[in-house]
Structure formats: structure tokens, C-alpha cells
Symmetry: C2
């Protein structure tokens, strides 16, 4: 068994190890963030979510950023879609036309929708690396029936949306899935690349995830606080200012209900920074009144009430840096941690 | 900064690195389990919890197991107490008389009780290494005001009792506390040893925790499935049989309420395997009826209803082994993981 993502380095020849990937965070991960992550040797993901209208323009701009003139050339970033609300046909169009290297699929209404998307992308845009995000061993067991290339294993520490209900962290999820895949791969199946997401902020978290058996790591919360992030300055400031992210964030559907994204399927919730909106709800404020206050806060840009999706690692984010520097720093730190562990224990 | 537990190896000269510690699990960690862990180069903890009556007998037996004849010689295991219910004076007596190497303090009624215990032990049994278990950065910041030797950082993946409410895993808790201590230690304070607990089952989890900055790791759930564990055979069987521990365990106070340990202070809950008792509660069964069923199940030894505290890593436990073999295996695996990481990434 090797942990070097050999298959990945063929599809993504620019990547450096340890592999750092940026999560396709809706309203945060624009194409500029994705471009800078890939330029730094990671794999950047632009996250339109379910709104396909801006995608052609964003991917054209990304192609320009890489000075790609040949339309046959692959665009070295990925794009992430939320299946429950994204329209499949327009997505297939942009994949065919703008040739992003990868597509990140998450949040299907049900298993059959994930299957439909994977088959459609295989048929219509066969060069695209298909990534699927899962949050449990059961989900991973289901998804490996499909022909995907990369499994993103999201632990419960992650910010933003994930499966709701009882969950552990990557500490358990990554080894359990790696063991399951090991048994499966031994039966002649195509080896899958496994990446860890959720709670990884710096080189320590990255080294930990690699130790657990992941072949690369995903940064989300850390990159909210990047220069190229599309998050509001107040949101970025809150991420930098937060401490004690275990108690300072919460997994809830409340924020979705109040901000107008309550149409997420019921099997998902989202982790975000605890704020006045949440505290008032705990204190017994009616949803109706809370929604009024939310809407006013939105007009007034009062970020003490607005939703800021972030993971438990938010307390470890100390400053806003260019995304490329963050990727290089985490990669360098991870190697330093691995070298230190080797000196002390090996 | 070094991760080798230098201070620890003076107090615990028999330990091997990476350091593996066994958690003082009430009703699971008897003195025999603790003895085998220490004999294997770890630090074993006997877990009487709050019942001091059996402690003298157990510690005498442990002294015999190490063939200690000189009463001045330190007994190379630790003992863990649950402060909210344990009587301080009898604990001080057994620490003075039987000289365990360490005492693990957890679950005070409030901060002042932890302070009272630390001061009393320092005064009455000054040779005992004082370990304190915390579950958040805020708790860690509070506890470093006291003169303790080891901080056990318990992430939300852990089985058994811990602080209730919003929590992350060791992925966030360990780096946050290490950073906090780094700033503190830089101001001339006594360096503290930091251990990680929660979700660590094998060498992968151990290597991950060391990468996060811990100087050693604590095994709990893994050792329920040890030969020397005092857990019922059906409980051990359930631990070995469990899969998908993220969804298969739950943090709740329900089990305490039904099994007669509902007097735990309200700031604590416990993670345990999801069973019929829990599912029936979710399904709307009254607490009263559920309690009747629980009591009947206890008489009938029906473990589909009885409480089995275990962490999210329970799905990774594959077999019952002697505790000493488990410690040696995890230590060897951790080094193998670190060596593999070095070859691939450093």
C-alpha cells in the first residue's frame, strides 16, 4: 500500500505532495481562490453550488488565468456542485465546454440521484475526474458501487453542510473507510483515492490525516480567511477572531431555516459559528421573530446575526493570507511534522 | 519544542515511546488491566471511579503483581477518580499508603473542587503525578492555573463520560491547547505534558494524535476488548462486532438516567453504543417504561438494552487481545505509520 496519490498525479500532473485540496465552498470559493490553490500545487475547487449561471464566465476567467488558449486543454481546477438543487444538463454543458479537471459531487437528494449524475458525467464528459463527498462508512460503502475516482471523507468537525445525525470525526471515518476499501481493492476493483476533510487547518491536521490513511487533505475553513475568498470581510474577520472552535461552532439547520436555504434535504445540516441568532433560539426566541431580526441584520450587514459556516478548527485560523501561501505553508508544515515525528519516534 | 515526554520518563521510567496510556474506565479498567498496560511499557490506569472501598485490595494485588516488597517503592500504575462523587480523604489515604505513580482526576462538580483535590494531593501525597482530563480549550485554560503534571485532552469521539454540549474532536482540541500552552510555557511556567484521548484505536490514530502535537495517547474503547478488561463478555463482543462507530454510538444522558447513575452533574454526558434502549427512546417510549425494561434486561443480562459506553472508534476494534499485546501492537503500528509517512512525504 502506498499513500502517494499515484493515480491522482496522472490526472493532476501539477500537484505536489502532501496533496492539499480546497473545498468548493458556496459563496466563498470563487474561481480565483481555486486558481491560486492549483497554482500552488494543490487542487483548487470553485464552488458554484447549485447556481450554474455564473459558471461559464468563471471558468472562462480561470482558463485565462492559466493562459489556456487551446480549448482541448484541461483546466487545472475542479468545480463542486450540490446535487439536490443543481440542474444536471447545464452542468454537463459546462463540463464539456470548459473542461475542468474534476467535478466534486455532494448532497444528492438520494442515492439514485448520485448514480444518475455519475453515469451522466461518465458519458458526457469522460475526461473529468469524479469526486464524491461522503460522511459515514455506510455512505462510502454505497458510493463505491459507482465508478468514482476520489472519495472525500468528511468528518463531523467540518464546517458547512454535511450529513446530519450521529457522526464522528476523521479519526474514525478515515481508517474505517480505508479498511473497507482495502478489502474491496483486494478483490480486483479499481483503487480509490481517499481524502480527509473536516478539522484540518494547518500542517498538524494534515499530517494527522495522512497518518490516518488519507492520501491528501481538504482545507475549507482555513481558506475562508484567504485573500481570494469571496467571504465578506466581516466573516473572514470572525474566522480569524474565533477561539475554542469545538464549543464555538454548532451543527444546526437553524441558520438554513432563517437565511432562506431551508430547502436543503432533511438529511443534511451545517456547522457554523455560534452567534446571536443561535443563542436567541436557544433562549426561546420564536423562529418568526428571529427571522425578522435575521433579515434586518442582512440589510444592516450585522454579522453578529448572519450565518458564518465554519468548522471546529476555526479557532486555529490566525490570519488572512493569500490562498497560495496557505497551501504552501500547510504543505511545508505537514512535512516538518512528519520529519519531527520521524526523529522522535522512528 | 520536543514531543518526547521527557518529564514523564523521569516519573515513569519504564515507559516506551510512543507512549500509550490506558484510560481509567469505571467497571472496565481493573487493576489487572492497568498492570498489563504498564508492564508493556505504557501507563496503565485502574478506574475505581468513586468507589474507594475496593481500592486498597486492588492496589495491594497490583503491588504483588509487580513483586514490590518495599512499601516506599512507587507502584507503576495510576488510579482514576471521578471527583463529583469520590470521597477525598479516603483517596488521600490510599495514595499515601499504596503509592500509585499517578492519579487521574476527572469530572469535578465545579472548578473549586478540582482545585481542592489538586492542593490536597500535592500536600498529602507529593510524589503522585497529577493528571487532569479536560474536554475544551476553556477547561484547559482553567486547569493550567493549577499545578498539574499531565493534561489529558479528551475529544468528542471518546467513549464514556465527558463534558456535554458542543464539542469537536482531538483534531482541533489538541492543536488549540498546545498553542495555548506554548504561549504560557514561553512565560516561564512549568511545561505540561499533553495526551490525546478520544477516537484512538490503533497505530493510525496514535500517529495522528502525535502529529497533532500530543506527547502520548490514551486508549479506552480498544481496551474494553482486552482479555483483562472487566467488561462483561457480551459488552466485549458488542465492541468487537460494532461497525460505523460515528453513527453507531451516541452522546447522551439517557443511559445514565436509566441505569441509576443519573446523579452525574449536569455538565457531563456519555458516549455509548446505540441500542434498543436508545432507539425506543427516540421512538417515543416513556422514560418510566424504558426504565422498567432496562431493569428487566439487567436481570436477564440482555445486552441489547444495557449500557455499553464506547467511542466512535468502536468500529475499528476487530478482536479481543491481551492488553499488553494491544499496547505493543499500537506502539509498533504507530512507528510503522510514522516511518511510512517519512518515506512518502519527507
Amino acid at each position: 500500500m502506498t499513500s502517494r496519490p499515484a493515480a491522482l498525479s496522472q490526472t493532476f500532473p501539477w500537484i505536489k505532495t502532501p496533496l492539499i485540496v480546497s473545498a468548493p465552498m458556496r459563496l466563498v470559493s470563487g474561481h480565483q481562490l481555486a486558481v491560486e490553490v492549483s497554482k500552488a500545487g494543490g487542487i483548487g475547487f470553485y464552488g458554484p453550488g447549485y447556481d450554474v449561471d455564473p459558471v461559464p464566465g468563471a471558468l472562462r476567467a480561470a482558463r485565462e488565468a492559466f493562459a489556456l488558449s487551446d480549448p482541448a486543454e484541461v483546466l487545472p481546477i475542479g468545480v463542486g456542485f450540490l446535487l439536490w438543487k443543481a440542474p444536471l444538463e447545464p452542468v454537463l454543458d459546462v463540463l464539456r465546454t470548459y473542461r475542468p479537471a474534476a467535478v466534486w459531487l455532494f448532497a444528492p437528494k438520494d442515492e439514485s440521484q448520485m448514480q444518475e449524475w455519475v453515469y451522466a458525467i461518465k458519458s458526457n464528459a469522460p475526461g473529468v475526474s469524479i469526486w464524491a463527498q461522503v460522511g459515514s462508512l455506510a455512505e462510502a460503502q454505497s458510493i463505491v458501487q459507482l465508478d468514482v475516482d476520489v472519495l472525500v471523507l468528511q468528518g463531523g468537525d467540518a464546517g458547512g453542510h454535511g450529513i446530519s445525525g450521529r457522526r464522528g470525526s476523521v479519526m474514525q471515518l478515515v481508517p474505517e473507510v480505508v479498511d473497507m476499501l482495502g478489502q474491496r481493492d483486494g478483490r480486483g476493483n479499481k483503487p480509490l483515492t481517499v481524502l480527509a476533510a473536516g478539522g484540518i487547518i494547518d500542517g498538524r491536521g494534515a499530517a494527522a490525516a495522512l497518518g490516518l490513511g488519507a492520501q491528501g487533505v481538504v482545507l475549507g475553513t482555513r481558506l475562508i480567511a484567504s485573500t481570494e475568498s469571496e467571504a465578506h470581510a466581516r466573516f473572514r474577520g470572525a474566522v480569524v477572531g474565533a477561539r475554542d472552535g469545538g464549543s464555538g461552532t454548532v451543527r444546526t439547520r437553524l441558520y438554513d431555516e432563517l437565511r432562506g436555504t431551508g430547502d436543503w434535504p432533511e438529511q443534511y445540516d451545517g456547522r457554523a459559528i455560534v452567534n446571536d441568532t443561535f443563542q436567541d433560539d436557544v433562549g426561546g426566541l420564536s423562529k418568526l421573530r428571529n427571522k425578522e431580526l435575521y433579515d434586518k441584520a442582512r440589510e444592516a450587514e450585522d454579522w453578529n446575526r448572519l450565518t458564518m459556516f465554519a468548522g471546529t478548527g476555526v479557532g486555529l485560523v490566525k490570519e488572512v493570507l493569500p490562498a497560495g501561501e496557505i497551501v504552501e505553508e500547510v504543505r511545508r508544515e505537514a512535512v516538518e511534522v512528519i520529519e519531527r515525528l520521524g526523529k522522535v519516534y522512528a
